[in-house]
C-alpha cells in the first residue's frame, strides 16, 4: 500500500524530528546491578512487582548515590519456610556511591547493607533522616519483614529494625516518611498489597497461565508508625484510623492538600477505590476518597492504582494527584480544585489520550526542561509478561512515558529511551548537579536505566531545606518559587525515593522569590534570589 504524506503530515513529522530527546540513556561505570525478580511458571505475584530505587546522598559528599532493591530467588514451587537466597550476592540490595567523575562504586558490603534477610523478597525503599542526625536513613520494604537501616554517618548502616519496631510483615510495597503530627520527628507509612503468600498463590488466565488480578486475594491494612523521637516507633495504625480501611495498596504520596498545616496522603490501590487520607490534626485520619472526588474515575470506575505523585501540575498553588494505572484506564489526574475537593482531569490534560494503552508504575512530576511547569515521567510495562498472547494490542515491554507540561496540558516527548523495557521503580534527582533533573528507572530482569538530562538554556533553582524546629530535612515544608509550589518529600512514584532537594525550573527568570512554609508554622520569604544555584535554606530557630 502506498502511503501519501500531505503538507500537514509533513509539518508534523518535521516538528517531531526537530524535538530532541530530553535525556541521554547512560550506563555509568560501576553501576553493575541487575534486578533479579526470578520469574517462575508458578506465576507468583511478587515476581512481577519489584523493585525500588532511591537517590540519596548517604555520605553527604554533595553527590547523589543510588540504592537499588533486589527481588530474590524463587523456586518453582517455593518451599516452606520461604527462603529467597538473599545471602547470595546476586540477590543483594545494592548501594552505589557516586564518584566525582560520575562513575559509581559498589559499597554494599562495606556499608553493611548486604544482609537483606533470608526470608525477604525485596520490594521498595524509603529514605529520610528519621533521627535528625543529618544523615539519610534507609527503610527497605519486603514481602516478608521490613528493615530499617540507620545511617551511622561514617559510611555504614546498622539494622535497627528490632529496636525501632517497624518490621511489619506480610507484603509491604511502597513506604515513606512524613511528620503527621508536626512534632519534628518523621513518622513512617507503609503500604501493604494484599493477603497473599506463595502457599496461597495461584495462576489465572486459563490456558494462558498468567498472574492473577488483585481481586483474587483478600485486601489488607496499611501501617502507620509514629516516631517517638528516641529511635523507636509506635504502631498507630489502629489508633489513627488507618487500619479501618483495608485496601490493596501499592503507592503512597504526601502533601497538605487543604492547607490546614497537617500532611495528608494519598494511597494508590490496585483494582479498587483509591484512598485519600485527610489528616484531622489530632493524630487521626479520615479517608475521604469518594467524598473528596479522588476515589474513582469520572465514570465512577475503580482503577488499578500503582504509582502516585502528589504535586502541583497546573501551578495554581495546590497539590494535585497523578496515579499510574493499567491500560484502558488512563493515567489519572485528580486536580485539586480547592476547598478539599478534587476533580478527574485526565481528559482535559491530554493524559488520557497519551496513556490509555499503557501500564504505569514509577512516576514523577518534575520540571525536566526548566520552563516552570512540571512534566510527567512514567516507568511503564504491563503486569503480565505474556500479555501479547492474551491481547495483541498490548505490550509487556514499554518505553517510559515522557510528557511535557504545556501550561497544564501534557504533550508527548522523546525520553531518549529507544528500547522498551519492563519498567517498575523510578526516582528523580539531579545526579550530576547541573541544575537539570535526571531519572533512574528499574527494569525487571535488567540493569537500571540512568537518564541524564541533556540540559537547555532555561534557568533553575534547587533548594535544600535545613529544618531546626521542623524535622532536619524540612520534609513537609511547602515551598513556593515564583508562583510554583512543591511539598518537600522524598516519597511518591512507586517503591522509590527521590532526591530530597526541591528543584524549580525558572524559565527566563534569572531571579526568584522563595517562600517557605515550614511544618512548624514558621514562614520565611527570600527575595531576589539568584537563579541557577543550589540554595540551602535554614529554618529560623525562633520566630
Amino acid at each position: 500500500m502506498r502511503s501519501r504524506v500531505n503538507r500537514r503530515d509533513f509539518l508534523r513529522f518535521t516538528a517531531l524530528a526537530a524535538a530532541p530527546p530530553i535525556f541521554d540513556l547512560k550506563l555509568p561505570r560501576g553501576l553493575d546491578f541487575t534486578l533479579q525478580n526470578s520469574p517462575t511458571p508458578q506465576k507468583y505475584l511478587i515476581e512481577t512487582m519489584p523493585g525500588g530505587v532511591a537517590l540519596l546522598d548517604y555520605n553527604n559528599d554533595g553527590l547523589l548515590d543510588i540504592f537499588l532493591v533486589n527481588g530474590g530467588r524463587l523456586t518453582s514451587p517455593m518451599q516452606v519456610p520461604e527462603k529467597f537466597d538473599r545471602a547470595n550476592p546476586r540477590y543483594w540490595n545494592r548501594l552505589y556511591r557516586q564518584n566525582k567523575d560520575g562513575s559509581f562504586t559498589d559499597v554494599t558490603e562495606a556499608s553493611g547493607l548486604a544482609n537483606a534477610g533470608l526470608g525477604n523478597y525485596g520490594m521498595g525503599v524509603a529514605v529520610a533522616d528519621y533521627d535528625n542526625d543529618g544523615f539519610p536513613d534507609l527503610f527497605v520494604t519486603n514481602y516478608g519483614k521490613n528493615i530499617l537501616y540507620h545511617n551511622n554517618g561514617d559510611g555504614t548502616f546498622t539494622d535497627v529494625t528490632a529496636k525501632a519496631g517497624v518490621a511489619g510483615g506480610g507484603w509491604s510495597v511502597s513506604a515513606g516518611f512524613f511528620d503527621y503530627d508536626n512534632d519534628g520527628h518523621l513518622d513512617l507509612f507503609v503500604t501493604r498489597y494484599m493477603e497473599w503468600d506463595t502457599k496461597r498463590s495461584k495462576a489465572c488466565g486459563g490456558a494462558w497461565r498468567t498472574y492473577c488480578p488483585p481481586a483474587e486475594f483478600p485486601a489488607t491494612t496499611n501501617l502507620l508508625y509514629r516516631n517517638r523521637g528516641d529511635g523507636t516507633f509506635e504502631d498507630v495504625s489502629q489508633k489513627s484510623g488507618i487500619a479501618a480501611k483495608k485496601g490493596r495498596a501499592l503507592g503512597v504520596a504526601f502533601a497538605d492538600y487543604d492547607d490546614d498545616g497537617f500532611m495528608d496522603f494519598f494511597v494508590a490501590n490496585d483494582g479498587m477505590q483509591q484512598y485519600l487520607f485527610h489528616n484531622n490534626g489530632n493524630g487521626t485520619f479520615t479517608e475521604c476518597g469518594l467524598e473528596c472526588g479522588a476515589g474513582l474515575t469520572a465514570d465512577g470506575k475503580p482503577m488499578s492504582g500503582m504509582g502516585v505523585v502528589f504535586q502541583d501540575y497546573d501551578n495554581d498553588g495546590r497539590p494535585d494527584i497523578v496515579v499510574t494505572v493499567l491500560p484502558r484506564e488512563n493515567y489519572t489526574v485528580f486536580r485539586n480544585d480547592g476547598n478539599g475537593q478534587f476533580s478527574y482531569r485526565s481528559l482535559e490534560t491530554g493524559l488520557a489520550a497519551l496513556t490509555s494503552g499503557s501500564s504505569g508504575w514509577g512516576v514523577g512530576l518534575e520540571d525536566f526542561n526548566n520552563d516552570g511547569w512540571k512534566d510527567l515521567f512514567v516507568a511503564q510495562s504491563h503486569v503480565l509478561d505474556n500479555v501479547e498472547r492474551i491481547d495483541p494490542s498490548l505490550h509487556y515491554l514499554e518505553k517510559p512515558l515522557l510528557a511535557i507540561n504545556s501550561k497544564g496540558r501534557f504533550e508527548l516527548a522523546d525520553s531518549g529511551v529507544a528500547v522498551p523495557l519492563a519498567g517498575r521503580g523510578a526516582a528523580f534527582g539531579d545526579l550530576n548537579n547541573d541544575g537539570w533533573v535526571d531519572a533512574v528507572v528499574t527494569s525487571l530482569g535488567g540493569p537500571p536505566q540512568v537518564l541524564i538530562n541533556r540540559r537547555g538554556n532555561q534557568h533553575w533553582l534547587t533548594i535544600a531545606l535545613h529544618g531546626t524546629r521542623t524535622n532536619r530535612d524540612g520534609l513537609g515544608a511547602r515551598v513556593r518559587v515564583n508562583g510554583q509550589i512543591r511539598f518537600a518529600s522524598t516519597t511518591g512514584s512507586y517503591l522509590s525515593a527521590n532526591d530530597k532537594r526541591l528543584h524549580f525550573g525558572l524559565g527566563d527568570s534569572d531571579t526568584a522569590t522563595v517562600e517557605v512554609s515550614w511544618p512548624s508554622g514558621v514562614r520565611q520569604t527570600l527575595k531576589d534570589v539568584r537563579a541557577d544555584q543550589f540554595l540551602e535554606i535554614r529554618e529560623p530557630e525562633q520566630s
Binding site: 481481586a215 465514570d299 465512577g300 480544585d337 476533580s343 482535559e348 495483541p392
Partner: protein
C-alpha cells in the same frame, strides 16, 4: 430432542386378539415405566400381526425411550412401509435418524411433520444454513426464550455468515469487501495493525463504502490511538452526515483527547440525529460537565437514568450527577446520587467496589 411416544388406539381394524393383548400389555408396561417389558410386548405384537404399522411404531418409539435409536430405525421404517401416512412414525424416524447423524435422511421425515426445531438442526448439519435460519426463526416465534433454539439459530446464522464471507474471500480475494471482512476479523482478534492494514486497503480500492471509516476508527480507538480514530470518524461523518453513530464516535474520540467543546458539539448533533441513545447522552453529560455547562450535564445524565435502569451506564450517570452536586455543595442531592451509585455498583460489580 424429545422422544414423543404415541400409543395408538387399540380399536384397530384387523388386529388379532393376541396382538391386541400384547399392544395393551405394552402400553400398560410403558405407563409403569417398565420399558424393557413394553419393548418385549410390542415386539410380540409385531410378530403376531406383522402388518400392524402401529405395533412397529410403538416398538420403535419405545426403543427410543431407552435411547436405543439405532435399533429403533428398522421398526420405524417398517411402520412407514406399511402406512406411509403415519405422521407419528415420520416424526420418530426423523428424530432417530438425526440423532444417529443421518441428517439428510431425516430431513424429509421432519419436513413432512413440520418439526421445525429438529428440521433446522438437520439443515445446519447438511449445510442448508439459510433454510435452517428460516425454520429455527419460525420455531422461536412459538418458544421465544428456548435456550436450545436460541443456540441453534445463532449457530445457523453464524455459519451462514461464515459461508458468505468464505465465498467472498475465495472468489474475490483482493476485493475491497474481502479486505473489509478481514479487517473485521482481525479487529475481533484484537490484532490492530493487521486490521488497520486491511481497512486501509479496502479504503484505497473503494473509499465510497459507507461504514469503512467508522470501522477503521474503531480499530484505532481499540488501540487507544485517539487522534487517528478522530480522523477516521471525521471522514465517516463527512461521508454520512446523518449517521448518529458516526457523530457519537467522533464526539467520544474528541472527548478522549480532551477536546471538550468540539466533543460536545458533535455529541449534541448525535443526540439530535438519534435521540435517546444512552451512550451518546452519557458522553454528552461528560462533555458538558467538563465544559462547565452543569445544567446540560445534569439534564443529559438524568435522561440516561430514565432510559437505563440497573446497568453500569446508569451507575456512571449517578456518579456523574453526584460529582456535579458535590461541586455545587448540594449535599442532600450528592448523598442521594452516591447512594444510588453504590447500590448499583454492588449489583453490577460487587467484588470490585468493596475490598474483601
Amino acid at each position: 430432542m424429545k422422544h414423543a411416544i404415541l400409543f395408538l388406539c387399540l380399536a384397530l381394524q384387523g388386529v388379532s386378539p393376541e396382538g391386541a393383548q400384547h399392544m395393551q400389555a405394552g402400553v400398560e408396561a410403558h405407563k409403569q415405566g417398565r420399558f424393557d417389558l413394553a419393548i418385549a410386548e410390542f415386539r410380540k405384537a409385531t410378530e403376531t400381526d406383522p402388518n400392524l404399522a402401529e405395533a412397529f411404531l410403538n416398538l420403535g418409539a419405545e426403543l427410543m425411550q431407552i435411547r436405543d435409536n439405532g435399533t429403533a430405525v428398522a421398526p420405524l421404517k417398517r411402520a412407514l412401509e406399511l402406512r406411509p401416512d403415519l405422521d407419528a412414525a415420520h416424526l420418530q424416524l426423523g428424530y432417530a435418524l438425526l440423532s444417529l447423524g443421518y441428517a439428510a435422511e431425516a430431513i424429509p421425515h421432519l419436513e413432512r411433520v413440520h418439526a421445525l426445531e429438529a428440521l433446522g438442526i438437520a439443515q445446519i448439519e447438511t449445510g442448508q444454513y439459510q433454510e435452517a435460519v428460516a425454520n429455527l426463526s419460525d420455531a422461536l416465534v412459538k418458544r421465544p426464550n428456548d435456550p436450545d433454539l436460541l443456540y441453534y439459530l445463532g449457530r445457523a446464522g453464524g455459519l451462514l455468515s461464515k459461508r458468505a464471507i468464505d465465498t467472498l474471500l475465495s472468489v474475490y480475494p483482493d476485493s475491497a469487501r474481502s479486505h473489509q471482512a478481514m479487517g473485521e476479523n482481525y479487529f475481533v482478534l484484537r490484532q490492530m495493525p493487521q486490521a488497520e492494514q486491511e481497512y486501509r486497503e479496502a479504503l484505497r480500492q473503494r473509499p465510497d463504502i459507507p461504514g469503512l471509516q467508522l470501522e477503521l476508527g474503531l480499530v484505532y480507538a481499540g488501540a487507544a490511538q485517539w487522534s487517528k480514530a478522530e480522523e477516521a470518524f471525521r471522514a465517516e461523518v463527512k461521508r454520512q452526515p446523518a449517521s448518529a453513530e458516526a457523530a457519537y464516535r467522533l464526539g467520544d474520540a474528541l472527548l478522549k483527547q480532551g477536546k471538550v467543546r468540539e466533543a460536545r458539539s458533535e455529541l449534541e448533533r448525535a443526540d439530535k440525529l438519534q435521540p435517546g441513545m444512552p451512550e451518546t447522552l452519557y458522553s454528552l453529560g461528560k462533555a458538558a460537565s467538563l465544559d462547565g455547562d452543569l445544567a446540560l450535564a445534569e439534564k443529559s445524565w438524568t435522561r440516561v437514568i430514565a432510559l437505563e435502569k440497573e446497568t453500569s451506564l446508569a451507575a456512571q450517570a449517578h456518579f456523574g450527577l453526584a460529582a456535579l452536586y458535590r461541586k455545587q455543595g448540594k449535599t442532600a442531592e450528592w448523598q442521594r446520587e452516591m447512594q444510588e451509585f453504590k447500590r448499583l455498583q454492588n449489583i453490577i460489580e460487587p467484588f470490585r467496589s468493596e475490598p474483601k
